[in-house]
């Protein structure tokens, strides 16, 4: 069977999508936002608790959608928890470059390796939006204060 498919749907992705980490609402969220892809119906809602020092103390999400969108949300939540907003946004930029198949500098070796489980998406341009939905939603949640 197709190698790039195996890469896309590798075990860790399927595992994230079947057993999403940090799934569920958050009562004391400081930021939240619901993201939606009208073309495919994927939905994800991100909850964040950001401390006074700009650190993401907690993150959780709820969602419904394909394996890629849900695994991406789960992976993201795992990764940004405990980081500062600025770090999370840097991670997001790296992730977006990665799934678009562009070169990714600027990330630590560790982060690059963790994110690389989703590198297979770059072979599936129609699925890039699934992979980035959670990240864009987190960004909107973080921006909401200024914007709304």
């Amino acid at each position: 069977m197709d190698e790039s498919l195996r890469e896309l749907y590798q075990e860790v992705i399927l595992d994230h999508s079947r057993h999403p980490r940090r799934f569920g609402p958050m009562a004391d969220a400081t930021h939240s936002h619901e993201g939606f892809n009208p073309l495919c119906g994927d939905k994800v809602k991100i909850y964040l608790h950001v401390g006074g020092d700009g650190k993401i103390e907690k993150i959780s999400f709820e969602g419904k959608g394909c394996a890629i969108s849900q695994a991406s949300a789960s992976l993201m939540s795992d990764m940004v928890s405990g980081r500062t907003v600025a770090e999370a946004e840097k991670l997001m930029d790296g992730f977006i470059h990665l799934v678009k198949g562009e070169t990714v500098d600027d990330l630590s070796e560790d982060d690059r390796e963790t994110l690389s489980v989703m590198a297979g998406v770059s072979e599936f341009p129609m699925r890039v939006k699934c992979a980035t939905l959670a990240w864009h939603t987190m960004k909107s949640a973080l921006d909401a204060e200024e914007k709304k």
């Binding site: 069977m1 197709d2 495919c40 394909c66 394996a67 699925r127």
Partner: protein, 405 residues
Amino acid sequence: MSSFIPPREDFDILSRTVYGNPLVYLDNAASAQKPRIVLDAMRTLATTGYANVHRGVHFLSAVSTEAYEKARETVARFLHAGHADEIVFTKGSTEAINLVSYSYLAPRIQAGDEIVLTVMEHHSNIVPWHFLRERFGAVLKWVDVADDGSLDADAVDAVIGPKTKLVAVGHMSNVLGTLAPLKDIVARAHAKGVPVLADGSQSAVHEIVDVGDLDVDFFAITGHKLYGPTGIGALYAKRFFLKQMRPFQGGGEMIGEVTMDRITYADPPARFEAGTPPILEAHGLAAALDWLMAQDRAGAKAYEASLYAYARERVRELPWLRVIGDAPDKGAILSFESENMHAHDIATVLDREGVAVRAGHHCAQPLMERFKVSSTTRASFALYNVQEDADRLINALKKAKEMLG
């Protein structure tokens, strides 16, 4: 199967491969491929007889005008409309339905007036009515379908009341394949003095549509699902209605006389065709319809039905799939979902096997809600599909299960 021979060799694209596998195109309900004769017709007009229509007296303009008006006659013949002037060319069925909404219903609707539609409508036959709800306080009355997806004329009748201003119903569901009992619905609606718009986007390619026999008041079709080009569709409407309808878009071709402070409008159908029309596309659509009418249509219908029945049967091998839509006499559209696998993931695996299907809400979100699913995978058949396509679909689904399941 049947004696119908699928005209595959008319479609160049069907012989291509996708990721090394021969293409199995089962996304026909989204859009059909176009036979060579359609592309040739458009090219020939463009390279030998093209100019803008109607207002020119020169030779090329005459050739293009004749082609354009002949296309109108072809559409009328295809739908068995009594008069070519009952055909208004549009960009597609979406625009055809919006035209009815803006030009017929909007000026007649008052707060509290009702529009009857079914839960299986495509967004194109929902959103224009939502506009009238948002803007004028119209009330949308929804008719449910049965659990097998079938639609009952009684159920439609039951919600038509004294405030109903229009029944807007899909002739064939793009998700369930359900064929609405249109003639019956029209008779019930007319008995209460209510006109009926049918969205024929899906039915026109599979059924032999006779708008006269159906007695339907408005009927929308779209070229790209009829083996025709993109950018063209048509509204059939009875003269009686067209005459009363105000213009939709304003521009060239649709006016009577324009001065700085006064304006009169042309008679239908010109009144509704503002601006330079899709000239080459109308000609291409006519070529597609001529091609389709030259097929053994009853044979094609039976053939598609047998393809569908075969695929439907084989899906039973895959108990982890739930089929949505099992109405009797339905069209060759097979929608299904799986609890553990998302439609997009299934479709992605299928794609790598060369099998093109659609996954998602199919622009029918109320129907998704009705069946408590967020999306389905949909395989839809055309007259050029073959039994092997169904086999390849089943095999690819098995691989998807292996990989995702």
